[in-house]
Symmetry: C2
Subunit: 172 residues, 2 copies
DNA sequence: CAGAATAGGTTCTATTATGCAAGTGACTAT
DNA sequence: ATAGTCACTTGCATAATAGAACCTATTCTG
């Protein structure tokens, strides 16, 4: 699998990595990136607003925003020329990170929210507070790792695949 | 929102943080953690196997494994007493991180896999290569951020919520 | 018009984490 | 007896981070 470096630790790229999870981490795996994206989904756009909500130092925020723009998940949009002012908005590529963020939110709600979930999601379509469940795109049935098999795709040799076997401590 | 620190950077905890995404990142937000979990889902169990697949140094691997055990997503299971040998298996809590990993994989496949997806998922139930889609747990319809509203839950005051507005550069 | 405030940064330094290499202890295989 | 494996642990140089101060342009306030 040849991972050499995780998420580009401020620039060492792991280009050759043939794993999509690692590719995703290269974009949003740095220390504050995911929280910046979360705030972007909540409607935050401006430097100062990110900074005050996150409590991050401005130099780090600047580097993260620059990198998120560079990798194409945020776009720097000028909204005033006269004091030169920019805001950061999600691109479509950034918007598509929603399932990742949503999955993290649900996991955190379940395992690390003793006072109940901090945020609730209301599905406008049906009007109810809901969770997100994962279903198979072919048959629409709910899926989890126990009901799937992993095979090598076009982007990899498959030599390093381990034969299917129980993966949890309880032997599932 | 009061984030003070992202993912515990090797131990500074951000205890008071009322955001489930941040809570999740505190467990798997460190540099190699998510890739270790990915390998665990692929069936990797032993120290040496993680090390050789990831190309990570042994001291860092040790610290990551210890932390993943400490936070309860991996379990250290003794499989030999006589040379004392342990392996690391997913707990149920770790197993439930699957949607996060899967979402990252799909995003990476879409935006960072020029040679095609490195791995394909076959749904054993229907036998076809498939993707995962997210649907509303109430009505079963596919959802994305445009069709939902966010409201404060029991775990938060809601004061810092931003009124719903377009979040992408294209004004959606 | 002077002075304070705001937005969006940049620069500096101390602290902290990482990567690499080497070493340890308990065995096992030859 | 010697070499090798597995699961760690330690030390050290390097790199990334946090925190604070500083900077520039512009607007607001008195």
């Amino acid at each position: 699998m040849q991972v050499t470096m995780l998420a580009s630790m401020e620039h060492k790229s792991l280009s050759g990595m043939d794993c999509s999870v690692a590719q995703c981490l290269e974009v949003v795996g740095e220390w504050w990136s995911m929280l910046i994206m979360r705030d972007a989904f909540l409607g935050v756009r401006r430097f100062n607003e990110f900074q005050s909500r996150l409590g991050i130092s401005s130099n780090i925020l600047q580097r993260r925003l620059d990198r998120l723009v560079e990798t194409g998940v945020l776009a720097k949009v000028r909204y005033s020329d006269h004091p030169p002012r920019n805001e950061y908005r999600l691109t479509n590529k950034g918007f598509d990170l929603w399932p990742v963020l949503d999955a993290m939110r649900q996991w955190g709600d379940r395992y690390a929210a003793p006072g109940g979930p901090p945020l609730l999601i209301v599905h406008d379509g049906c009007g109810s507070v809901c969770e997100t469940i994962q279903v198979c795109s072919s048959c629409g049935v709910s899926i989890d790792p126990r009901g799937i098999s992993v095979v090598a795709g076009p982007g990899r040799s498959g030599e390093d695949l381990i034969p299917k076997r129980p993966i949890t401590e309880s032997g599932r």
